[in-house]
Every structure is written in structure tokens, then in C-alpha cells.
């Protein structure tokens, strides 16, 4: 779960990290009030949960309330990468001497936490990595031993940062690490971390991605989730606890397992088709299968649905039951291609085939393999 900049900044600030003074505006009136309150040059920042806001016009400076309102008019309601701007965070403008990058995330390969720090702040870490790999210092942190001073000391010497900034940067790094640990983050990042003209250190941006799997331990965060920043179908899926990702094509996919979902999408693509989504129902109950159908049937782009199951944890008999419930209770107007193998496949196929025969369902095709299913679905999508 990714927090908005303003939410992350509030957390960082509570942990003693200096952030610019700022407030959130939801309309033009609030914009005026906040700019007047701040009483100096401000920065307006669109609160959208995506990167690259700056280039997309989501960050503007303003010297007066009038100018701020002018900019805000061009922001509110606009889209950045498909996400609507409905909140603007307004901050005092900070005079910057130098911009750094500082972040903590995990490193699966090393079973570690990793601190990333660079003197090339303000750019995407991916771009720094690509253009100035030697300018990113990675420090591996043993998750059992934790973060100790020597790591930041090593990094700062490697970056050749002036000695006078060691203490304040080390102090911020320790606080940010504390945030990473206390909030069970996947990623927490200050980019840019500014060394200000007056020699202080200040977090100009703030990113905090919290581990969804740990939200049950931090239930307050669930309330912070901004569903306005989600694609409507994805939002519905999330609310129903389904694993759904929207893609751009016309073939609806339901697969058991994330790997299988991706592979099915790849196969469809291989055979010349275009998946409309990625849907993982691994380990599903009949109810989940039905809910998934419900969701897909709301998607007007679809020409066919391909159900691809080779079940381990996923039991074919349960999938079959869910499909039958969907056929019975929902208006399944689309052709459905079904591949059903794995755990309890004989039971599953049997009840499914019986149902198809008894109800004389025309648009339902049982296939024997993943290739056959993918080909059939592509064929139907092409009007075949």
C-alpha cells in the first residue's frame, strides 16, 4: 500500500525528520487559505499515487495566492497517468543547496534490508542507477542485527559528503530506518533529501509503501487507503479481496496461481491475442470464482473468458462448483473457455461437464491443455 506524500510526510515528521511546513488542500478556497497562512512562496504538489508528477505538470511553484489558485485550477480534476488529482499538498518553498537521495527497501536475494543513498537526488532511483551507477551506495542491513552507525558512516565517506553533514544525515537515516521498521514498510524514501541553503537537512518529498501483508498489524493504515487513486475494477477487486490487474486487451483471464496467470497472458500474446486482465484465483473457494466472474462481466471490453487451472492448493471440484454457480446466478453472455487440471480434476470435470450437458450451455468450451485453451480464446476474440 502506497501512501500519499502528505501522509508519509506527516509520519516522517512525527519521527523527527524535518519536512517543509505544508497543508493539504481539497479545493480552491483551501488553496487560498493555506497559501496565505504559509505567507511566502509555495510549492503545489498534486497528490497522485504515481511517479513522474513533476514532468506531468503535477508540481508548480507560486508566489501569490492568485498564482496558486491559477495553477490549482489546472490541477484539480486533471489526470496524471490515469489517476485523478483531487488533493493538492501546499508547502513552503525551501531554498536548496544540494539534493540527495535516501531510501530503505528490502533485497530478497540477500535476505536483507538495504539502504540506498546517492548524491544525485531528485531523479528516479532507476534513472540514477542507469546513468550514474557508481553514485548510488547500497548498504546491506542484516534484518536480525539492524542498522548501526558504521553503515551510514561508510556510505557517507564513499559519497565524499562533507564531514559537517555526517551527523545530521546519519540522524535522518536512523529515523527513516525506524519508520521502515515500525511501519513494516516495503519501501521508504526521501527524494530529494535537501541540504538547504541555511545548512539544514529537509525531506522535500516522502514515499512510504507499507507491506499489505502486515496491514493487519497496523489496521489504522487501512483507513488511509485512497481508493480514488485506483482503477474502478481494480478497486472493486481489492474491496472483494481478489487479485486482479487490468490490462489493455479483450480476453478475460482467470488462472490459478500468479505464475500461471502471467504465463497464460504470455501464451495469449504468443498466439496473437490480447489479455484484458490478469486474475489469480489460486487456492480459491467456489465463492471467489463466482465473484471473479461477476467482476469480469462488468468489463465491456471482453469478448471471451479463459479459465486456466492446473490446481495444487486449488481444488478443481471447487472451481467447477464456482463456475456452475456463476452460470446459474449470473448472466454469462460471453463465451467461456475452460481448462481444468490438477488436484481433484476428475471430480471437477465430471460435475462441470454434467452441468453443461444438462443445461445445454452453448458458449462453454472444455479444453485439454493450456495451449489449446489459449488458442481457442484468441480465435474467439478475433471473431472466430
Amino acid at each position: 500500500m502506497r501512501l500519499h506524500e502528505y501522509q508519509a510526510k506527516s509520519i516522517f515528521s512525527n519521527h523527527g525528520i524535518r519536512v517543509p511546513r505544508g497543508k493539504l488542500a481539497k479545493n480552491l478556497e483551501e488553496v487560498r487559505k493555506i497559501v496565505e497562512e504559509l505567507g511566502e512562496e509555495v510549492v503545489l504538489k498534486a497528490q497522485v499515487l504515481t511517479g513522474g508528477r513533476g514532468k506531468a505538470g503535477g508540481i508548480k511553484k507560486a508566489k501569490s495566492a492568485e498564482e496558486a489558485i491559477e495553477h490549482s485550477k489546472n490541477m484539480f480534476g486533471k489526470n496524471i497517468k490515469g489517476l485523478t488529482i483531487n488533493k493538492i499538498y501546499i508547502e513552503e518553498l525551501i531554498e536548496v543547496e544540494r539534493e540527495l537521495y535516501l531510501g530503505f527497501t528490502y533485497d530478497g536475494l540477500n535476505k536483507s534490508i538495504v539502504m540506498l543513498i546517492s548524491t544525485f537526488g531528485g531523479m528516479d532511483i532507476e534513472d540514477i542507477a542507469a546513468q550514474h551507477p557508481e553514485k548510488i551506495i547500497r548498504k546491506t542491513i542484516d534484518p536480525l542485527i539492524g542498522f548501526w552507525d558504521f553503515l551510514i558512516r561508510e556510505a557517507l565517506y564513499e559519497l565524499e559528503i562533507p564531514k559537517k553533514f555526517f551527523k545530521p544525515i546519519a540522524s535522518i537515516a536512523k529515523k527513516l530506518y525506524r519508520v521502515f521498521i515500525d511501519y513494516e514498510a516495503e519501501l521508504c524514501e526521501i527524494n530529494p533529501l535537501a541540504i538547504t541553503k541555511d545548512g539544514d537537512i529537509c525531506a522535500l518529498d516522502a514515499r512510504l509503501n507499507i507491506d499489505d501483508d502486515a496491514l493487519y498489524r497496523n489496521p489504522d493504515f487501512i483507513k488511509l487507503k485512497d481508493y480514488s487513486q485506483m482503477e474502478p475494477l481494480e478497486r472493486t477487486a481489492e474491496e472483494k479481496g481478489l487479485k486482479y490487474v487490468k490490462l489493455s486487451g479483450d480476453i478475460g483471464l482467470i488462472a490459478a496461481g500468479a505464475g500461471m496467470g502471467m504465463a497464460t497472458a504470455d501464451y495469449i500474446h504468443n498466439f496473437g491475442g490480447n489479455p484484458a486482465n490478469f486474475f489469480d484465483i489460486g487456492g480459491a473457494t467456489p465463492e471467489i470464482v463466482k465473484k471473479s466472474f461477476e467482476l469480469l462481466l462488468q468489463d465491456s471490453r471482453l469478448k471471451v473468458i479463459f479459465v486456466n487451472v492446473l490446481g495444487g492448493l486449488t481444488r478443481c471440484d471447487w472451481i467447477a462448483k464456482g463456475l456452475i454457480e456463476a452460470f446459474n446466478d449470473l448472466k454469462v453472455r460471453l463465451p467461456v473457455v475452460i481448462r481444468l487440471s490438477g488436484t481433484n480434476e476428475y471430480e471437477g470435470r465430471e460435475i462441470l461437464i454434467r452441468h453443461i450437458q444438462e443445461n445445454d450451455l452453448k458458449g462453454v468450451f472444455i479444453v485439454e491443455s493450456m495451449e489449446e485453451g489459449a488458442k481457442k480464446a484468441v480465435e474467439i476474440s478475433k471473431g472466430g
Binding site: 532511483i125 532507476e126 505464475g259 496467470g261 502471467m262 487456492g283 493450456m370 495451449e371
Partner: protein, 290 residues
């Protein structure tokens, strides 16, 4: 031979009386796995499918001399279950649990390294050495004993891959899902080492996916250390960057981690990569005929 589990493995099931635990325990016993006991706190002293249930892993190990465990427990107690097993001296842990918090995962994976415990998973379908033992929740009928070792982060893909091989009459030595979580225990490289040393294995199939850097690292390792032929399959070519595709690991972040970069690394290491799993099966078939 085969790797990690075989007919000598003495296996306990953590969460044996739960819905999934009991369902798959029955299937494992039917397949011939030597299930020697199970653990469910509060159910100690009872029996299920003819094996004793204990309150703690320590008790189970003491009474049954188990060396392997499989955990069917909810994610909130997933780390606790793994640490209990490590602490009780179990040598091999198969952690089925999906949804263990990242920070718990980091701790248990690191703890398993420090304690020289083999941790498969979290979020793994398990491991099967066909005709010897299954410690997992695979649909066993799609596997066939043979000489191909298969490994993957994804459970469903090892099923499909094994299925495609079995259909061609090509059997498997051991098939292992190392786990779909962001951080997992046993690494691709450690599995490759074991397949290299395993007399039963002649060909290795490595299934990779987008995200992370493990496949790239594995490619370098293969080039330098693996003499047996390796065939690859990488899933996620059509996955859009930045979107999480079910698996926590399956998201492209930072430089590298794309399907293309992984295929390129593998090709450079002399690994043939199939476009579909059926194509991988054909490459394997050709290799075995030589």
C-alpha cells in the same frame, strides 16, 4: 537419490488438524510420504490418519525423530511456526503459508541461514521427488519419476512444466517450488548446486519470472558451476512494468528484473530458453536423446 526429500524423510505437518493441513496430509500419506506426526497446539495426544499429534514441534521431534516439517498455518503465525521448527532442530522446513509479512519473512529467512536450516518458501507449493515423497500440496498424478530436476518460484508453473514433461513420458528427479514471496529461504543457486550433485538428475529446468535479480545471478552461477544442461522458461513477458502480478516478487522494479534481461542472461550462460513450457519440454526431450 533425488534432492532434499525422499523415502527416508521423516516428515511432520504443522497445522495438521486444520482444513488444508489435514486435506494435504491425507494426500501426502496416500502418495507414500513418511508422515510421522503432526503439530497442533491444544490437540497434543490425539491422532489423525494414524499419526500422532503433538502440542509443539519440540515434542514431535523428540518423539518421532522428524527431520522435515511442512507448515500449514495462517500468515499471522507463519514466522512463529518456522522459528519453532528451527529452534526444535528440524533440518528441512517447507513453508506453504502465503501472505507472511515481509519483515517476518526477512527475519525467518535470515534465521534459517544462520541456523543452517533448509527453508523452502514461504509461499511454496512444496517439493516432490516423484515415487518417493511429496512434501507439499502438488497434484501428484501429474508427476512421473525420472531424471529432470525442476525449480521455480511459482507453484502453478512447476505443475504445468511437469505436466508438459510427463505427457511426453519424461520423468522428474525432484520438482521444487522455492516460494513466491519477496524473500525466500533456499535460493535458486542452492537448488542448482543440489541438482548438479544429484546422480538421478541429468537435465535441469529453471523457471524464472520477472522481478528481482535472482535469475541473472543464477545465470552467472550456471556458467561457472553447472555442468549439466539447463533449460529455462521465463514468465511475465507481457506483464506491464510497475504492476504487481499476484506474486510479490513478480513486479519489475529498478534496473534489470525484466523478462528480456533474464532471458538474455540465461542465453549468455548457455541456457536454452523456451517460449512456452511445451517448447521447453521439447528441448529437454532432444537433450535426453543425445
Amino acid at each position: 537419490m533425488a534432492i532434499i526429500v525422499d523415502d527416508n524423510s521423516r516428515v511432520i505437518v504443522q497445522g495438521i488438524t486444520g482444513r488444508e493441513g489435514s486435506f494435504h496430509t491425507k494426500k501426502m500419506i496416500e502418495y507414500g510420504t513418511n508422515i510421522v506426526g503432526g503439530v497442533t497446539p491444544g490437540k497434543g495426544g490425539s491422532e489423525i490418519y494414524g499419526v500422532p499429534v503433538f502440542n509443539t514441534v519440540a515434542d514431535a521431534v523428540k518423539e518421532t525423530k522428524a527431520d522435515t516439517t511442512i507448515t500449514f498455518v495462517p500468515p499471522s503465525v507463519g514466522a512463529d511456526a518456522v522459528l519453532e521448527a528451527i529452534n526444535a532442530g528440524v533440518e528441512k522446513i517447507v513453508c506453504i503459508t502465503d501472505g507472511i509479512p515481509l519483515h517476518d519473512g526477512l527475519k525467518i529467512c535470515r534465521a534459517s541461514v544462520y541456523n543452517n536450516t533448509i527453508l523452502i518458501g514461504p509461499n511454496t507449493p512444496g517439493i516432490i521427488s516423484p515415487s518417493k515423497a511429496v512434501v507439499g500440496l502438488m497434484p501428484t498424478h501429474i508427476f512421473l519419476e525420472g531424471n529432470v530436476g525442476i525449480l521455480s518460484r511459482s507453484g502453478s508453473l512447476i505443475y504445468q512444466m511437469s505436466y508438459d514433461l510427463t505427457k511426453k513420458g519424461i520423468g522428474q528427479s525432484t520438482v521444487i517450488g522455492i516460494g513466491g514471496d519477496r524473500v525466500t529461504g533456499l535460493s535458486i543457486i542452492e537448488v542448482l548446486q543440489r541438482f548438479e550433485a544429484d546422480k538421478q538428475t541429468d537435465v535441469i529446468v529453471l523457471i524464472g519470472e520477472i522481478g528481482g535479480r535472482e535469475e541473472e545471478t543464477a545465470a552467472r552461477f550456471i556458467k561457472e558451476n553447472i555442468t549439466k544442461p539447463v533449460v529455462g522458461y521465463i514468465v511475465g513477458l507481457t506483464a506491464p512494468p510497475g504492476k504487481r502480478m499476484g506474486h510479490a516478487g513478480a513486479i519489475i522494479e529498478g534496473v534489470g528484473g525484466s523478462a528480456e534481461s533474464k532471458i538474455k542472461s540465461l542465453n549468455e550462460a548457455g541456457v536454452k530458453v523456451g517460449k512456452t513450457m511445451a517448447e521447453v519440454a521439447e528441448i529437454v526431450a532432444k537433450l535426453l536423446k543425445r
